[in-house]
């Protein structure tokens, strides 16, 4: 474990401004030169309840949440304290304090709002636990400070001021951010709240030994979430149409795109349901625009039929699947990786689609771009599968990483001049679905183009698009559509790999994961190596077409491999075994599905328990969460 790190948790009720305060706090630390990473935990509830955001700050690149945390700023749930409606909300204002104690490390700091919590609200064993764990507790009437200079909602700012005093942070970063984001008067009141809280706490006795590490960024940094990265990737790839229906957490991409598209010369549509949304994307793409849609589990289920239509009519579209914990509506605000098989195989017939599962913010950007390139280059739907974790987590990225020219090319689409030369049926109809192209891609025309008339049909069809049940044509069309998959795999293999190897190539043991757990697995592997284990990690992103060669090489090279994923049915491991047809006995699974992503230490423990301590016979370890996880 890195000793010198700050993991700051701000907790309160939903609606108490936890999100915005934590974002500013994270940005301030980034501006101060640190590497930051956030982990968001919130209930499916608009006001009240218990929510927190954890901000991890270190002096080295940070790609995962940590294990537990060392600083709690508990604002209390202000919505619970509503005497009139107590019967409805219950007396829950202390939850942001009590619900978080299990994960607070020894020697940690607690600042709580004594203006919201009376002494008798605290649990009976609070002092005892504080003493046993050497917690440093600072009750502070944040509410009064906020009220004195402004309004009660500024309790957050008071909390940040207190934090800064305890950690000896330079207030100028917070000051600047407030100035940038607030109207003058609001800023002034907040500034007073900030400095007043700072001074009050600075005057108190401190004896904790938590310090914020020091670092300097050599280049310009930006703070982005996975959803930001997907939206920006789409915009840079020339996506100018989105249709959707809100569903958490897909809504984050949908909202971002809807905000930016008009400025970018595109159009966004919120429509009646997800069937319509995916079908609109097909319509826009058919008419010559780069288009996307998306949803989360249940909404994606509705897209299953249009997805098949896009495959059959070879209409390029990009769909985003932002998974959350299922079954059914499941746990709307909690992450899980249980939608992999749904995304790979849903819809009738033999699926031919491309599925990428980016492992971090940067990959979310590059693989969204790749998804558009493949979709339009090969006339196939491409899906970006990620989850609630990657969707909302923020991390700092080098701004230069995004400094790439847009590539708006419409892919395998003919101009009118090219159409003149293209193959036509005797009737003048353009042969949109020719049997012969080597890579399976028969270039398309766009409605309105002279000489490009064709029929796109979800029924099996001839080269001109006429509905046909002719057996020879059927086989030729099926084979051609499938041929694309081989060529896509070849194209992907000829480029920088989407699979991320971490650790030495010749390590004896492996840990493998897909999608959003990549960073956490990498950190776990670093710790395992520090503890003397000869191990490496592979984060896999290409789900379909499957990276057969790379995975074969990895699995051949290790004696045993732990497969880490957030679901119960070992969906990723199942995919590996299905695709490679062997290596089953080499793999053990570590699963977690309680609504929280893995912490690195849990993977370390899982590795030791299943891979190296001799109990390898047990191929599946289900993670038993500690209370409060």
């Amino acid at each position: 474990m890195t000793a010198n790190e700050l993991v700051w948790r701000i907790a309160g009720g939903s609606g108490d401004g936890i999100d915005s305060t934590s974002q500013n706090f994270t940005k301030a630390l980034m501006r101060a030169g640190l590497h930051v990473f956030t982990h968001r935990h919130y209930p499916s509830r608009i006001r009240g309840g218990h929510t927190y955001v954890e901000v991890r700050a270190r002096d080295e690149p940070t790609k995962s949440r940590g294990d537990g945390y060392n600083f709690l700023l508990s604002l209390g749930d202000s919505f619970a304290r509503n005497p009139k409606e107590e019967a409805y909300y219950g007396k829950e204002e202390v939850k942001p304090l009590t619900e978080n104690l299990d994960d607070l490390r020894e020697g940690g700091i607690i600042v709580y709002d004594s203006g919201l919590l009376d002494d008798e609200d605290l649990p009976d064993d609070f002092d005892e636990r504080a003493e046993a764990n050497d917690w440093h507790v600072y009750p502070l009437d944040l509410r009064a400070i906020a009220k004195e200079h402004g309004r009660e909602v500024m309790r957050n700012t008071a909390g940040v001021g207190a934090t800064a005093a305890l950690l000896d942070l330079d207030l100028s970063y917070f000051d600047e951010l407030m100035q940038e984001g607030m109207p003058e008067e609001v800023y002034e009141a907040n500034y007073e709240v900030l400095t007043d809280a700072y001074e009050q706490v600075a005057a108190m006795d401190h004896d904790h030994d938590i310090v914020v590490p020091e670092n300097d960024h050599e280049s310009d940094q930006v703070l982005l979430s996975g959803s930001n990265a997907i939206a920006y990737g789409a915009l840079d790839e020339g996506c100018r149409f989105i249709a959707g229906y809100p569903m958490t957490p897909w809504t984050e991409v949908f909202t971002l795109m809807s905000q930016h598209l008009p400025d970018f010369g595109g159009v966004a549509e919120q429509v009646e349901d997800e069937i319509a949304a995916a079908t609109l994307a097909i319509g826009a793409s058919h008419a010559g625009v780069k288009a996307m849609s998306g949803s989360s589990g249940g909404g994606f289920a509705l897209m299953s039929e249009p997805l098949g239509l896009a495959e059959m009519t070879e209409t390029p579209i990009v769909l985003v699947e932002a998974a959350r914990a299922g079954l059914s509506t499941g746990m709307p605000t909690k992450p899980e990786q249980g939608d992999l098989e749904h995304v790979l195989y849903t819809s009738q017939g033999d699926s031919n689609r491309v599925v990428f599962a980016p492992g971090n913010v940067q990959e979310a950007y590059t693989q969204t771009r790749k998804a558009f390139q493949i979709a339009y280059g090969y006339h196939i739907p491409a899906i970006v599968l990620y989850d609630q974790k990657l969707s909302g987590e923020l991390r700092n990225v080098d701004a230069a990483f995004f400094d790439e020219e847009p590539t708006p090319d419409l892919g395998a689409t003919l101009t009118e001049e090219e159409l003149e030369e293209a193959a036509h049926h005797a009737s003048g109809k353009f042969q949109r679905f020719r049997h012969d192209p080597e890579n399976g891609v028969s270039p398309r025309s766009i409605p309105g183009q002279r000489g490009g008339r064709f029929l796109a049909s979800g029924n099996e069809h001839t080269p001109e698009g006429h509905i046909s049940e002719d057996p020879e044509n059927r086989v030729a069309q099926m084979d051609r559509r499938l041929r694309k998959m081989e060529h896509i795999r070849e194209e992907l293999d000829s480029e920088t790999s989407h699979q991320t190897l971490h650790g030495p190539e010749d390590a004896t043991y492996g840990v493998m994961t897909y999608g959003s757990q990549q960073g956490t697995v990498e950190e776990a592997v670093d710790r395992l190596r520090d503890a003397g284990h000869d191990v490496k990690a592979l984060g896999v992103s290409d789900m379909m077409p499957f990276p057969e060669a790379e995975l074969t090489e990895f699995l051949e090279s290790v004696d045993r491999c732990l497969v880490v994923e957030m679901n119960t049915s070992e969906q990723f491991r199942g995919l590996v075994q299905k695709e490679l047809g062997r290596f089953g006995p080499k793999m053990a699974s570590l699963l977690k599905y309680n609504g929280n992503p893995f912490e690195p230490a849990e993977i370390v423990e899982g590795f030791e328990a299943t891979i190296t301590d001799g109990s390898f016979e047990r191929t599946t370890a289900r993670f038993q969460p500690a209370a409060g996880d």
């Binding site: 930006v222 079908t279 826009a284 249009p306 009519t313 101009t415 009118e416 109809k429 309105g448």
Partner: protein, 311 residues
């Protein structure tokens, strides 16, 4: 210069240009009302001087959905009930296209009912033709949303306990700006109405009564129809919502009683179509989005410019 040359060239058009050269010509049963729709559509397209390549005809699934196979233009034979969302997006991507959506009563009023309501509400500039044969044709004669009460079929052997839908009233109340009903047995009126519907700048709903001699032998579409425009008894102002609503109500009830009234019911010309509305609010560019990709000089904005907010 437009990237789509086929659009908007004025010339004389022969309706045979809309006949594809494929064999067999059609899979519809002899005597099927769908032939009437096809004929009326070809006639209307020719009369309007449209080029087969500037039309996008989007159909659903059903016997009616095969219209796109027998009408020569750009076509999209999509999935059951989903022609409208597909057509809507194509229109937004390239408003210069003439977009026509078509399907059956099961397709449009049943499985696609939600899209029907919202497309009418949004007033997309397109024509929606519903082949209303009061039956599911392609799946062999089940009761449809417009089948009369008491209609017996293999899935409703005791007879349907439901009143049929009122499609005209539905689209009017949802917001369509042009609503008409015509019939395959009334070819001249059908063509005229389609001409008007395609020309109309907004969502035009044409409920097209067709016969299904195979499954719906006693359908009332065979009885003589009354063209309300040519009958003084039915005098009303088609630009007035209330009067139109009353006329539709009467028309729909009359059909249930075995009397067929057809004609134009509502036409609203002072309302912007959906894409015009979006352009006016700044939510959509004025030039077709699809053209950007064919314009070498188009300046593509970059996400990099958005990063300031993230620093």
């Amino acid at each position: 210069m437009s990237a789509f040359n086929a659009i908007g060239q004025e010339r004389e058009v022969d309706q045979n240009e809309f006949t594809p050269e494929i064999e067999p010509q059609a899979t519809w049963c002899p005597g099927c009302g769908d032939f009437g729709v096809l004929k009326a559509l070809k006639g209307a397209a020719a009369e309007l001087g449209l080029d087969p390549e500037e039309i996008l005809l989007v159909t659903g699934i059903g016997c009616s959905g095969k219209l796109s196979s027998y009408f020569e233009s750009y076509g999209f034979h999509s999935i059951h009930g989903r022609s409208l969302p597909l057509a809507r997006a194509a229109k937004l991507a390239n408003p210069e296209l003439t977009v026509i959506a078509a399907g059956g009563d099961g397709d449009g009023y049943g499985i696609g009912g939600n899209h029907f309501m919202h497309s009418a509400r949004e007033n997309h500039d397109m024509t929606y033709i519903v082949f209303n044969n009061e039956i599911f044709g392609l799946t062999k004669g089940q009761t449809s949303p417009t089948s009369p009460k008491g209609h017996k079929s293999k899935t409703q052997p005791q007879g349907s306990a439901k009143d049929p839908l009122r499609p005209l009233s539905m689209s009017l109340s949802a917001g369509a700006s042009y609503v008409a009903r015509t019939a395959a047995v009334n070819p001249n009126q059908a063509k005229e109405i389609l001409v008007e519907a395609i020309q109309h700048d907004g969502f035009s709903h044409v409920d097209f009564l067709t016969q299904c001699p195979t499954w719906n032998k006693d359908a009332r579409q065979y009885v003589p129809y009354i063209d309300i425009q040519q009958n003084e008894e039915y005098d009303f102002d088609i630009t007035d919502r209330r009067e139109a609503a009353d006329a539709m109500y009467e028309t729909e009830s009359a059909l249930w009683d075995g009397k067929v009234l057809t004609g134009r019911y509502f036409k609203q010309e002072d309302r912007r179509s959906y894409h015009e509305e979006k352009i006016a609010t700044g939510a959509m560019p004025e030039d077709p989005i699809a053209e950007q990709y064919f314009d070498d000089d188009h300046e593509w904005k970059r996400s990099y410019d958005l990063l300031d907010a993230h620093r």
